[in-house]
Assembly symmetry: D2
Homo-oligomer: 333 residues x 4
């Protein structure tokens, strides 16, 4: 870590800072310049609170040289992590297609979608039982009943299940869910993350709408520090000034996260765009830049398709898309 | 609500949409244009899922005309809400100064700060016992012990207490806390908001870093829909491309929230800027544009001041600032 | 266009607004609701200044239903525009690879790069002669001499040339340049755009760092309204809170622009990412989501490669990438 | 400047980088760590292209320690710059109120507004003759005629004139304009800035919608490097995800620019908010945080007030606001 001290800092205040840093077990290398003094901090700086130092009035700026995320850091773990979900592998060259409806509604619906997406080559079934909604007046999901219906669909097709958990008090209901999803709005719900660190299941961690890659990896660190190293990162769009789609899908996060971390990285083009016809081009882009998988919304019920299918593909659309993705992956193999 | 249908939408699909909307109890007014058809939805559209309609392939765009927030909407409740916290009033012309340290550390610290800020005119004491931190390796707060120390300081000074709650499983510990704060990262932790809707205490709801005013008011709606109408809104900076301060304080949110809602609106310049010397100018700006209060970090311990005081004012700085704020408010009275 | 009038607007003020709108040649359809009045504006609203109306105190909000861009609008021109540059076609299924160095430096350099990229399948040569730089102390380009060197390279290889123009007073120097590029910082330099509307050459118009798609198409409209209909749109990254790459490449703009407009859309992954190793994955993503071409920086000089090649690929990297892009395009054909 | 080299960089490549840096006249201080090597660059690094170095594959990151702006830097020029415009002073404690209509329309209009704002205490008259508009179909200003009308109003009132210049080919028309304004969209029109560096008039430089403070100061540097040191910086709102006002006014830029630079800083609340009723609270906030002035739109014509006055105050509103601003400034004197 490097601390740039302002030119007008008094020697007394500067020495006070150096002593305080030494008190944290660090060696300090001081280099004096004409317009500032630069302190090099040598030792384990992962425990040093950079924001605190940065805001001191004698400090011009601070630069962290070693990242604070350790468990997820590729520097300390060069090989790709491969996560195995009942035989389905994600990461290290294993591409995983997760598909299913936004919300679980009925047994017929979820079983039919599960069969359809399996036939098209999906590896896992997704389905929302607990739904985070901006408005308290919107449908909040079938909750426990939804999980039961997912289990039935899983038994009928053999597909492992991915579903979102919003509160750790619901954990008992998720016993038979294979992968626990943390939604974008909960990416920094640290109490939830800590509890998931004690669980022996893969966690699909979605990036928050305004979170940096460093913050995403620090949230993964909360889970991994608790002992659960099975984290799947997911890019699902960020909030920008853009006004023509719900969010801006940040695909360059995929190669960048692969560089920073050994964890698998998947992409959710359905939530990022919010419009079904934008899902196939963005899904193909994600496959082309090296994502380890996709999570895509698929509905099947022609009667409710009118509105329920807003950002969801039909099974036919999904089948076409899955075939194209296979071709793109083969072309780049 | 207005739905613009694309020019190339088939009559069949359009009629299907109209029927589906009528099925939701709405009257539909159709006006045909040369390049599009516009549907006017008449009735209670607060239950209609705008995003779903917007993403239909036959729909060009949707515009909501009535806001979905009802309980917090000034249209239905023109008078300012005044919240009373043990005699301290916020809103409707009552300016409330909340001050205290970022984290509660020791009895001496919190009692000394409480006495100092009271002497300078603070109306309530803030102090973090549960701390949301980006890194699992950073100090997470004294938790229950911190709350106990806050109570001691409150008893010594008579100041009501504001402290952040991160999980509703901690609610029993907050029995003697006067105002429960929901942090920016938890603004859309809907399970927490629902539980706080059942509590009979004012909730200080901070705006999330990437949340719109509509989303902030919808989160207030989660609390109010549960029966708790005592919500204090708080602007604390948003995330933008700006790189010279931690966040961008969005002060125009203050007059805009006052226009949209009857709830009190306060400002947190300490977290928004992250730098103590930026707090006074931004606090004065907040007072000048009509904020109903401020929440400001103040530390007192000269030994730890070096780093603990990063974004915190000293009691002396706070005293000067409080005096200036009084003068600005008098000038505008 | 739809104008929502506030519930508390006086009848007099409302009628005044209606009269004023009628005075602009529009028919007004008034529908009264319980909480607001909605005015439907029928006629040619492309001349109506939406911002002005929106800011009236009696107006709640305004929604434009017909886009203001006409010449570039797919609604009025359903077929893809195909631009022909000395036999090289862009748009309508014709993929165009533009490659070359960031700056033109020497004859040897530009000729060598031109030959190398041509051998790898590039269709046009890019090279900066006039360079927009944030700092007045950075290299500003070889200017006229640079253009001369580009012409030599073009003559040797037969590749048409693309180069950036920063001021219309430089137009005479660009006589032999085949495609004039407008940089992101000049996307709303309206005086420059107007002049380019009189030129009989294709214009490569880069999206500004903080510009919406609507603004990009309105800038294209400035050129097309002058009579020059040969506009190539280019996505090159937007400015967001993201801090790990120079910009955030907004790839969903590609299918969205194709939906809104008939103009060709290309992608610049070099400037968007600023890091050579991020260019291939983003270039492949762009090809996969349907871009009509790519503009990529390639350098060749091993001695200056150290720094000059920052965001540029080597000819070998480019050759590998070009082959992969062909394979992806074949897979999706 | 500090360059962090990646742990896996070969010694050969690292030495190549060090030699190249030395070739630029710098001394290099190498400090080897366990996970990276840190190079300290000593000497004049203002000419070093940081982006180029940052993008090298062997480089982890780069941190500039000395800012690149020199002429505007407070470090090298600690006293506030005071700009004198025909006796009206800005900066160094001199508060300057600039007011006038968005567009100059008629002699009657501009003279009447000029008299009104002068009576309320305005120090300068603003008025647009050349108007940058997103759409080619919107009113583009009266151009030369507008300037003539401004001159008449200036002669009648004695107020100096501020007006926007969009192209340096229009410079001759601005001979009698006292302050030349560069609009937000032209903040990085470097050719225009260079020409304005040769002019002996104050330049009012507006911050671009997505530009950092560093970029704003580098644009000031373009003007100052040409010899014109009379630059007034202007914050006028930035583009964020915010959707309830046209832009987000970034008021913390005011104290931050004062810290970084000795140049005066004014605020434009009219363009930032786009809504007249939001102008007074934001103007008061700007005065409270130490701005050196305000530029505010005021219209006067009751017949056109309906729409023309969108973001403009009436003379009566302006008079009230001017009085409140005086009171706030006195309260903080």
């Amino acid at each position: 870590m490097i601390v740039v001290v302002k030119p007008d800092a008094s020697k007394e205040r500067r020495d006070q800072l150096i002593e305080w840093l030494k008190g944290q077990g660090l060696d300090i290398h001081v280099s004096e310049g004409r317009f500032q003094t630069v302190l090099g901090l040598i030792g384990d700086t992962s425990q040093v609170d950079m924001e605190l130092i940065e805001s001191l009035d004698i400090v011009d700026s601070v630069k962290r040289i070693t990242e604070r995320f350790k468990n997820s850091n590729r520097k300390f773990h060069p090989e790709d992590t491969v996560i195995d979900v009942r035989g389905v592998k994600i990461g290290g060259g294993n591409f995983c297609m997760i598909a299913g409806p936004c919300s679980v509604e009925t047994e017929d619906q979820i079983v039919a979608v599960a069969k359809a997406v399996k036939a098209s080559g999906a590896d896992m079934l997704r389905g929302g039982a607990f739904k985070p909604r901006t408005s308290p007046y919107d449908f909040q999901g079938l909750k426990g009943t939804g999980i039961e219906l997912l289990k039935i669909a899983s038994e009928e097709t053999g597909l492992p299940i991915v579903s979102e958990i919003m509160s750790f008090s619901d954990l008992p209901l998720f016993e038979d869910v294979d992968v626990l999803q943390v939604g974008a709005r909960n990416m920094q719900n640290f109490d939830l993350l800590k509890e998931l660190g004690k669980v022996n299941k893969p966690i699909l961690l979605k990036r928050g709408l305004a979170n940096t890659l460093n913050e995403l990896l620090m949230s993964a660190e909360y889970i991994m520090a608790g002992g659960n190293e099975q984290v799947i990162l997911c890019e699902r769009g960020i909030r920008t000034f853009g006004d023509y789609l719900r969010n801006t899908l940040d695909l360059s996060a995929v190669p960048m996260l692969h560089e920073l971390s050994h964890l698998p990285v998947i992409v959710d083009p359905s939530h990022a765009t919010g419009i079904a016809r934008m899902v196939p081009p963005m899904a193909l882009s994600a496959a082309a830049c090296g994502a380890d998988g996709l999570i895509i919304e698929v509905h099947n019920d022609p009667i409710h398709a009118l509105c329920d299918g807003a950002q969801s593909l039909t099974p036919e659309d999904f089948d076409l898309l899955a075939e194209k993705i296979r071709r793109v992956r083969e072309a780049l193999a």
